[in-house]
């Protein structure tokens, strides 16, 4: 998926009030406003970043990916309503470091990079997850956690990626996995 498709899908999922300014602004190449961690939800720029990152962590394949499952919306919700102010600051600080490092390495913004470059960079960040002095590692770990949680608990994740069977009606202790092919959503 290229950046334009990604942003269009992000526009669909982020809801009319947020999506239009977000996608228009970014598509038009308008400079993202300065990030203000205390001001409610994530900024336009951050929404673009988390959309790009989550789309590489859980891409659309033979099933829909993180964007279709509204993972960026979920990350925004967690940031706005679940994180403490300290956690919000840590998230934004880590994101800045992540973006700065990617720009230094590829001479362009993370969102502008090719999928191959994005994957290469995310792999680098993952290799630093355990380094306390590497905020890009923390950012990767956080985004992987939130993306996986948001994706597999979404309706798309539960019903299309996994097997959804809320009222099984019976129990079998030796069911063949090949008869279902995907793990259960619970």
């Amino acid at each position: 998926m290229n950046r334009r498709e990604l942003l269009q899908k992000a526009g669909i999922i982020l809801g009319a009030t947020v999506s239009l300014p977000v996608s228009r602004a970014v598509l038009a190449g308008v400079q993202a406003p300065a990030i203000s961690p205390s001001a409610g939800g994530l900024s336009v720029g951050s929404l673009g970043t988390i959309s790009a990152v989550s789309a590489r962590i859980i891409p659309a394949t033979d099933t829909p990916g993180a964007i279709e499952a509204k993972v960026p919306e979920f990350v925004d919700l967690i940031y706005r309503d679940w994180y403490t102010p300290l956690e919000q600051t840590q998230f934004i600080t880590a994101e800045r470091a992540f973006l700065a490092l990617s720009k230094e390495k590829y001479k362009q913004d993370f969102e502008e990079c090719s999928s191959e470059q994005q994957d290469e960079f995310l792999g680098l960040c993952e290799s630093r997850v355990k380094e306390e002095t590497a905020p890009e590692g923390f950012y990767f770990k956080t985004m992987k956690e939130l993306t996986v949680l948001g994706y597999y608990t979404s309706e798309i994740g539960a019903k299309q990626e996994l097997s959804y069977n809320p009222v099984p009606m019976r129990y079998k202790g030796d069911y063949l996995f090949s008869d279902v092919g995907k793990q259960w959503s619970y």
Partner: protein, 565 residues
């Protein structure tokens, strides 16, 4: 104060034992008032979290940390607590007890009609002959005034009504119930059963005995294997007061159930030598009323029933009603839960489970059975709740490196089969393990708050190494690898099997209740919840509470008809 005198019997509490007392009393023709401090929960209608899909659960199940810390600091520690059923649980800010940070006791409780019957773990085991003899044999605690044979018909009576699914095994340490068909063991559990019983002939692996229907029963449907029972079960496969005992009581036309009715204390008449009234505060308006009846059954829970007695002081009973012995509040017990082991069982990857079975496996007590083992340095014993299943995406993703298509592909298949054994050990009764009332700290109803003073003893500690070692050995026998022993134990209270604060006994000087659950001191007052327990066994106690309650009602109504109470 308003006064009403319309009832033959008052039951305090609508949980597992209150529901049973209400059913048995009303079915014998008595007009019964059930007083419940919590708010009403209607079967089905108020199970808002039942079958709630993951995408509708607030924050997809992430805990509401600020709210929980502020208002549910105790309850939110329980595995069964989350946003799908928070309305069932006690609000710890509104209804606190005195914190004792150096000696914590986690009092986990509901605050609704049905009480903990709505959120209990459903495990249902008979006590053994040996359990009732243990105190007499080793001298810890007073002798039980009843034996297994006294309860056996009442176990059957209860099981026939609630429905307990399980497998008969013919063990002296764990008598069989009158079972509904057992749920099936999964493919790895079958192997575990075969290997454990082959390697350790004195041990048994059996399906957990659970109060969940595998056949329909009187207006209740069979289990549909959806999984999270504690969110509410509108088909009523799950035994709760709502699904079972309260409807039976209601059907008689003899039941009055009052939610939001907090019992402050019991009124004692010195002239009549009996409880003359139950003092109640309306939880919303604060209005006070006294209800009168011929019989009073305390079924408020181990801790709350003792609290009511201790708060019922009079010239005749300056230390609390029915407490001439001084034992009320003392000899608090809870199972010591936690020690065991975990390991991975390689293979069987072509199989998964279909449906969510609402019970695990169980390894009944095999230590010190019938006589003291030569190689144990502790008295009595322990059993294991066992889980054998495959991990899902939640437990896999942080152990699965990478991202992108490879992560998706890996999370599409379940993780390896895992075997987890969680030990529950018997807790000896100790005088110093007690609750008391703090007269300087009143709750919003003016009732003194409870203070816990509890710690596990040396016998419970002495079992830990054996519980971990034997669990690890059994997991290895099944072929387990990466086996890890777990020595950590839950905090006191976290087994949610607290019992013993108003114990039964033969001697009025050392016990509060006689063999009929009647207080030695006050003939028309009966206590039949977990507080009556004289020892703790190592098995889950609710089935025994129910049998004791049904038996006590039968005796109490007989005494009432003979004019003896």
């Amino acid at each position: 104060m308003n006064e009403t005198t319309d009832f033959d019997a008052i039951v305090v509490g609508s949980g597992i034992t209150g529901g049973w007392a209400a059913k048995e009393l009303t079915e014998r023709g008595l007009k019964v008032l059930v007083l419940e401090r919590g708010s009403d929960i209607q079967h089905g209608r108020d199970y808002q979290g039942e079958h709630m899909p993951s995408w509708d659960i607030p924050f997809r199940g992430k805990p509401l940390r600020e709210l929980y810390e502020e208002e549910y600091s105790v309850q939110s520690r329980c595995y069964a607590f989350d946003e799908t059923n928070r309305q069932f649980w006690n609000n710890d800010k509104e209804n606190p007890y005195v914190p004792t940070p150096d000696k914590p006791f986690m009092w986990q409780r509901a605050d609704v009609v049905g009480g903990r019957s709505l959120i209990w773990g459903r495990q249902s085991y008979r006590w053994s002959e040996q359990d009732f003899l243990a105190n007499k044999q080793d001298g810890h605690g007073v002798d039980w005034p009843i034996r297994y044979r006294d309860l056996e018909p009442w176990y059957r009576h209860v099981e026939d009504f609630i429905g307990v699914s399980g497998q008969a095994e013919g063990l002296s340490a764990l008598p069989d119930s009158d079972f509904l068909p057992a749920m099936e063991l999964n493919v790895v559990e079958k192997k575990a059963k075969a290997r454990i019983e082959e390697e350790f002939p004195e041990r048994t692996y059996t399906i957990g005995r659970t109060a969940i229907l595998t056949e329909p029963k009187e207006g209740r449907g069979t289990c549909h294997y959806c999984g999270p029972c504690e969110r509410g079960c509108s088909v009523g496969a799950y035994f709760s007061s709502q699904s079972s005992t309260l409807p039976a009581a209601k059907k008689t036309g003899n039941l009055t159930l009052l939610p939001d009715s907090v019992v402050h204390s019991l009124e004692y008449s010195e002239n009549e030598h009996r409880v003359s009234g139950v003092r109640v505060i309306d939880a919303h308006s604060g209005d006070k009323k006294t209800y009168r009846s011929k019989l009073v059954f305390l079924c408020a829970s181990t801790v709350a029933s003792a609290q009511i007695l201790l708060n019922s002081k009079s010239a005749a009973f300056p230390n609390g009603l029915a407490n001439r012995s001084g034992v009320v509040g003392h000899y608090l017990m809870d199972h010591a839960m936690g020690p065991g082991a975990i390991g991975v069982i390689p293979g069987y990857e072509e199989y998964v489970e279909y449906g969510n079975r609402p019970t695990g496996g169980y390894v009944p007590r095999f230590r010190n059975v019938d006589s003291q083992d030569k190689d144990t340095e502790f008295l009595r014993g322990y059993g294991y709740q066992v889980y054998i299943g495959r991990g899902g995406w939640k437990s896999m993703y942080d152990k699965t490196p990478g991202f992108g298509e490879s992560l998706k592909t890996q999370l599409r298949s379940p993780g390896p089969w895992t075997m987890f054994m969680l030990g529950y050990s018997e807790c000896l009764p100790q005088y110093d393990n007690a609750i008391s009332l703090d007269e300087r700290k009143l709750d919003r109803f003016g009732i003194p708050q409870i203070r816990f003073d509890f710690s596990f003893g040396s016998n419970e500690d002495a079992m830990i190494p054996d519980m971990t070692k034997q669990a690890a050995a059994m997991i290895r026998t099944v072929g387990g690898v990466e086996v890890m022993e777990r020595t950590n134990r839950g905090l006191p209270g976290e087994a949610i099997h607290e019992m013993g604060t108003v114990r039964m006994g033969r001697d009025p000087a050392t016990s509060a209740l006689n063999a009929y659950n009647q207080t030695h001191d006050v003939p028309n007052l009966f206590v039949t919840d977990g507080s009556c327990m004289t020892s703790s066994s190592c098995v889950n106690p609710s089935l025994t509470y129910m049998a004791i309650t049904a038996r006590a009602v039968d005796i109490a109504v007989g005494l009432l008809r003979e004019g003896k109470v």
